[in-house]
Amino acid sequence: MSIGKKVLVVDDSRLTRMIFTKVIATNYPQWNVSQAIDGKSALKAAQTKKFDFISLDHNMPDATGLEILPELQSLQPGAHIGVFTANVQKVLHGRFTALGVTCYKKPLDQQQILAFINEGLAV
């Protein structure tokens, strides 16, 4: 079932949060999307609400996605987490893959976002 899923979009870019939210609202209008603008607010949101999907940026002002990922995974063991980053270096993607998450390359598009969602729904 995919009714009423909760999504957290963690990104310091308003543009990215806007695109992600729009794609979810268009394809899954019954879903709820929350936004976090940095690592601190992402962890705060993860402490107070359960999410089914978390999209995580890497390069943020207060922390990197790689730094907060283990705590996010600990706080949200049931969430499907994907990293959406402009940093396309293989070594970085390798570190994320080792932590069990998939990296997606910015710029975001609907195809990538839906691939991430479908990956989570298939689990």
Binding site: R14, L15, K22, N59, A86, N87, Q89, P107
Partner: protein
């Protein structure tokens, strides 16, 4: 132009497009030097020419090496990437090894710096063009050396009346080697307005 040159929304959009472009550039650089390239969070400011001159002079009051490249399409301008001389020498040393063992700036060093800057700037142009769905043509990269004021004054001379400076501050570094660069775009007011039109069109696609 009165009021802010770019709204917060459009500054955010442009910052993210540069962030993506620099991310691609970092991948290319990483392959060239066979090391991970660390990127800072970008910040973008839209400044009047005189404000930019003050800001850049405060940031770097020593001699610099800069690479300038013209871009042209639905909006146009000149992009400049600034390096301190020590940063550019260090960067070149990483790419061409002992050929650049000192900070003198010979033909080989110039070619290396132009090529690296060409990759970085075209990654930014490419990302802007791809996301905004337009074509941006770029000219050949040109080396400019001197103090930052002299570099900007040369650019001021090449620009039309009332140029604006979009200053993207983004550091990239290699492990244990502090190499910093700063990318700036110098655009005439008319061209900024055309850029804003493109950003408006793009943003309307995702308006809720």
């Amino acid at each position: 132009m009165s009021g802010p040159v770019l709204s917060e929304e459009y500054r955010d959009t442009l910052s993210e497009l540069f962030n993506i472009g620099m991310g691609r550039a970092a991948q290319s650089l990483s392959e060239m030097v066979d090391e991970e390239v660390i990127l800072s969070v970008p910040s973008l400011q839209a400044l009047r020419y005189v404000e930019a001159l003050d800001l850049f002079t405060n940031v770097s009051n020593g001699p610099i090496n800069a690479v300038e490249q013209h871009f042209d399409g639905r909006f146009s301008g000149n992009a400049i990437i600034f390096y301190t001389q020590s940063s550019s020498a260090e960067l070149i040393r990483h790419i061409v090894g002992d050929l650049a063992a000192n900070e003198s700036f010979g033909e080989m060093e110039e070619e290396a710096l132009k090529e690296v800057s060409n990759i970085i700037l075209n990654a930014c142009f490419g990302c802007l063009a791809e996301v905004l769905d337009c074509e941006l043509k770029s000219g050949v990269p040109v080396i400019i050396t001197g103090d930052i004021g002299a570099v900007l004054k040369k650019q001021r001379g090449n620009s039309s009346v009332d140029p604006l400076v979009l200053s993207l501050s983004m550091q990239f570094s290699l492990p244990n080697k502090a190499i910093e660069g700063q990318v700036s775009l110098i655009m005439a007011s008319e061209s900024i307005r055309n850029l804003v039109k493109e950003l408006e069109r793009f943003s309307s696609l995702y308006a809720m």
